[in-house]
Assembly symmetry: C2
Homo-oligomer: 382 residues x 2
């Protein structure tokens, strides 16, 4: 297993996706050191997901900071399409970044739950099938600690009364050929899914401030469309804080997927399942203990190290120590995995306690917190 082609700084471990090339292809900007320094100053710190380069690119982020400094403010927008499986730890990464941004800048946050999308995308067979997961997803998100008076979590099917009119204004500006090009719709696509992008764009119009969307770079095309339309509706173009793709457990090129359980740690996995999945995870380890002691591991391609760096080692110094301990053959995979299992299970136990606690106040996010109340009285005025 060669080291070539992999970045060697531990907080920028990566697989084969050439993110430099993506920056060029998508025409986005690199999250530069000076910009990170500026965030650091304004936010009073930098979240590990930012300082370790997982968020690596952006659109208009410096304008967002200008707006913040000038007192015009900005707002955050993200979402989660419920499916017929629980959320996994890769799903919560952008929410964790969003929550950090909310706390650091004290801004409103809108979380769309498109409860119809997977059905329209023919990924589930009925709306009923998804229903049990919708509430669970909302609880999982709310449990991450969003501000209950500055966060509005809404289901499309419930909030459509407020969304439809602005969606019509948006939809008028998206013709079929554009939608096909951006979203890859084909002849088998349902007409509901073809309309759906308009609903995904509506929350970017909720305030007459700049929206900031923390998301994977693969989501950029959706919001590039918003950037074409927003000025025609007298609204701001979305700014984006773009991340790399979180790895699944089967390798740097895998994704966590609920339909392939070995790739993902679900938020409701019991401890022994977490253990089994991590013990079977793809690592940068050698074929034998002897080889590993002699040659060292390859943390750059190791999914276990990847997840330490994303969520399970907050201390940069300790992460670097782990990196070099692996690299020099001092740390073997078994020990490193066992520790990750412990940390994930600790995280999940805490998280699921928070989920229970949040149940009592989830209606604040959806209906009766300060922002939620405002939004149930909101009307779009271009």
């Amino acid at each position: 297993m060669s080291q070539e082609g992999y970045n060697v700084t531990p907080w920028e471990a990566r697989g084969k996706i050439d993110y430099d090339k993506l920056i060029q292809e998508f025409g986005v900007e690199r999250l530069s050191e000076p910009l990170l320094a500026r965030i650091n100053t304004l936010a009073g710190g930098l979240h590990p997901l930012l300082r370790r380069g997982f968020f690596f690119a952006h659109r208009d982020l410096s304008l967002v900071l200008d707006d913040y400094e000038a007192g015009r403010g900005f707002f955050l927008y993200t979402g989660r399409a419920p499916s017929k499986a629980p959320m996994h730890i890769a799903h919560i990464v952008p929410f964790i970044a969003t929550r950090w941004l909310q706390h650091s800048f004290g801004v409103n946050t809108y979380i769309e739950i498109p409860d119809e999308e997977k059905f329209l995308a023919k990924k589930v067979d009925s709306l009923e099938e998804v229903e049990p997961y919708i509430r669970q997803d909302i609880l999982n998100i709310a449990a991450l600690g969003f501000d209950e008076n500055k966060t509005f979590i809404f289901r499309d099917s419930e909030y459509i009364g407020k969304m439809y009119r602005p969606a019509v204004l948006v939809a008028r500006h998206i013709n079929l050929s554009t939608a096909r090009a951006v979203f890859g719709f084909d002849n088998e696509t349902s007409i509901g899914l073809i309309f759906y992008p308009a609903l995904q764009i509506v929350p970017t119009l909720f305030e007459n401030r700049r929206p900031l969307i923390p998301c994977g770079i693969d989501q950029d095309p959706y919001f590039r469309l918003q950037r074409d339309i927003a000025p025609r509706l007298n609204r701001y173009k979305t700014a984006e804080l773009l991340s790399k793709l979180a790895w699944g457990l089967t390798g740097p090129e895998s994704k966590m997927s609920a339909s392939e359980p070995e790739t993902a740690i679900m938020l409701n996995d019991p401890p022994e399942v977490v253990k089994k999945k991590i013990m079977n995870a793809f690592t940068g380890g050698r074929a034998t203990v002897e080889e590993q002691r002699k040659l060292g591991g390859v943390p750059e391609v190791c999914t276990v190290f990847h997840w330490y760096s994303l969520l399970f080692e907050e201390d940069d110094k300790k992460l670097e120590e782990r990196y070099w301990a692996c690299k020099t053959g001092k740390l073997l995979c078994g020990e490193c995995k066992a520790e990750l299992v412990k940390r994930i299970n600790h995280f999940l136990a805490l998280h699921n306690e928070k989920v229970k606690d949040v149940e009592k106040k989830v209606s604040k996010y959806m209906y009766d917190g300060k922002l939620a109340q405002e939004m149930w009285n909101w009307e779009f005025k271009p």
Copy 2:
């Protein structure tokens, strides 16, 4: 001007559209004498629009009558997409038939006002442009005398909260290729218009009874799609009562169109405008009075005679007398037109008084009549 190719019974005057061929092409059934006789018996009469063959074809109408006789009942559904012009007399023809059916059978009637459609179809430039006409359209429709406790008139943009979920269920069953084939969508079509047919189908699911839609035969393809989908949602296929196309004033092949004022009598045309338009209307008259006295007119192609037969002569015997008076050269166009002007202006004066009266109770149809209240609490359960 030849008489060939025109039907000679006065109550079936028609232009060049071959409706027999359309019956075959669309695969619908002719509105036969025995079926008309059955309606006559059950309804205690036949509306001129039915007995004169303007409504000439159907789908499943005998099943509707079976349902009625068996006590299962049925319901009526129609609609009107507001534009940036007032309604004209051709627009109200299907509503007049619908109202007659409601009164004759005592059934619930749903009237959709798709206040977003013309905007999504790029026929108007803003939603604001349409707004003043929406209320006027609703008043014009309500003024025709629908039962205020059995009629629900709803605007898409207001009622979308109830419609979206069933629309999603419908949309899942309509893929892009079908929508393109049925509605002729192309690359320039907005994604909002592509979704719209799902919203047009939703009212056919409002009751677990058979829906009957009185409409022009050109609307049949829309509801044929409904007939494919309804069984999958455990609902009835729509029945249809299909009419010919009402003529514009410029000839049997013209349509009334607000954008060509000479073709249409608008519901708010002042008497002198009505007079001017009718005086300029295309008739079956001859070049000179002498010729007309000698050869007689051709009522079969006469737009003036057409409108007598549709709305302005209820008495079949008098209509037939008019037919023969024309045919034999006894009645000249000037006199015939002057009489129609009088009748139209009388109708419009009465109608616009009813519009004023209905203003006080329009909220019954939309919000607080018996059916309206039920519908604001409705939820679709397949």
